[in-house]
Every structure is written in structure tokens, then in C-alpha cells.
Symmetry: C2
Subunit: 142 residues, 2 copies
């Protein structure tokens, strides 16, 4: 099994295009990014690239396992490289802030779900909602 991004695509019957390369690079560069943000990043290099290409490309890249997305607030999903260490998003419903913690922090929970329910959790896709430490403190002052 090959590991280079272009081989991964080829192996699954997809073609290699500048757009796909640029989107993948943008995902790696930005770390967390919405389709719209990826478009801006890509357009720094190739201004003619279209938003719908971003969507279609992300779909392909996700299918072959090069990127994943997570739903963070109400808005657009954010995409990340699969290379990046898997992480869980903690979303504060008060300040809308997002912090990440290592995925293995949920190891026990994931294991429990696997054993009890047979559910295989995609940890990186999980968003945990609640209230962050800062907003908790601020609330106590009231």
C-alpha cells in the first residue's frame, strides 16, 4: 500500500489534478478549515478555481481517506488532514471557541462503545459541546 497522496488517488482510480493537489496542500496548511476558507487559500495560487471544485475535491479526498471533516458549530464543517494527530473538538456553546484535545483522551469511552454497542467511533469527527473553563468562570462572577 502506497502512502503518497497521488498514489492513494491513482490507486482508487482517480486522476491527479492541480486542483486536488492544491486543496490537499491547503488542508494541510490551514489545519482546520471550512470549504470557503480552503477556496481562499487555493485561490492565492490559482485564482480561477471554483467553490464547487473545492466541494467535489473534498468529497474525493475524503473518500480515499486523505482528509476528514468534523462538524463544529451550526455553520460549515471544517476539514483536516488525516496526517494530523487525531483530535477531539471541544466546542464552547457560550463563546463559540474551539479547543482541541488528543483523541486518546476518549480511549476508554471509545472502547466502551465498541464493547457495549458495537459502535466504532470516528474520534476525530466527534464534537463535544459544552462550556469552556473561561466561560464557566465568567458565569460565576454574575
Amino acid at each position: 500500500m502506497s502512502n503518497e497522496w497521488d498514489d492513494v488517488l491513482r490507486d482508487q482510480g482517480y486522476r491527479i489534478t492541480p486542483q486536488r493537489q492544491l486543496v490537499l496542500e491547503a488542508v494541510n496548511t490551514l489545519g482546520h478549515a471550512t470549504p470557503e476558507e480552503l477556496l481562499s487559500e487555493v485561490q492565492k495560487t490559482a485564482a480561477a478555481v471554483n467553490l464547487s471544485t473545492i466541494y467535489r475535491t473534498l468529497e474525493v479526498l475524503e473518500q480515499v481517506g486523505l482528509v476528514t471533516h468534523a462538524h463544529i458549530g451550526h455553520g460549515a464543517p471544517t476539514y483536516h488532514s488525516v496526517d494530523t494527530d487525531a483530535h477531539i473538538h471541544l466546542v464552547c456553546d457560550t463563546c463559540q471557541g474551539v479547543q482541541s484535545i488528543p483523541a486518546d483522551a476518549a480511549e476508554l469511552f471509545v472502547q466502551m462503545l465498541r464493547e457495549k454497542v458495537g459502535f466504532e467511533t470516528d474520534v476525530a469527527h466527534v464534537s463535544v459541546h459544552g462550556q469552556c473553563a473561561t466561560c464557566m468562570d465568567r458565569q460565576k462572577l454574575l
Copy 2:
């Protein structure tokens, strides 16, 4: 502190309207429901009610703590009554199915987040993505 739905609203300076009553009833009746689904339910009784009223009403009901919502797939959020037992949604990214498990299954995880990161998790709002037992099995057959 009063517990009746109408007192809860009044106490926070909101008015009691038929629309608010109907939406709250619909949330209780349906258990899990998207705004669109709530509209249909409400319109069984009052056909003139508008979708934007549903949205505005849900916002109010959520603010006063009578309902919550959770983000389940890519699509619309689903609302539930706060009376209902808190539960966690397990969303299968393959078949889009949703199953619920009791919130206290995540007790340890929640506690860990509280201690290590100071993050107070809103368990009912959590959506856990992954692959359900059925789809795991089906995949093995290929």
C-alpha cells in the same frame, strides 16, 4: 422557582402564545425533531403557523431552558424536550442511522474533561460519529 412551562416563560419576561405552546407540545410529542418536522406537527393544529415562527420559538424555548438541540448529521439540528432523559446520539456515517444511549455512559469521560481541562460538557448536545454495528458487519462481508 416555578416548573410549569408557561411560568418559565413568563418569569423570563416572555409572553405566552398559542404558537409557543404548540411548538413545545410538538417537541414533546415527537421526541427528536427538526424544525421542518415540528412545523408539520404544529400545522396539524394550526395551519397558518410559519416556519420562521418555529425557528424563533425554538430559540426562545431553548433560551429559557425548555428544549435543547443537538447536531446529528450534516443536515438540520434536532430538538428535544429537556424533560426527556439526557442521551447521547451515536450517528452512523455510513447508514446515517442514529441510536441513543444514556448520557451517563459518558460519565467518566465527562469527569475527565472537567478535571483536566475545566470543560463542562453538555452531554445531551454531544453527537458521536462513527459506524454502527450493522454497517461494520456489512463492511466485513465485502
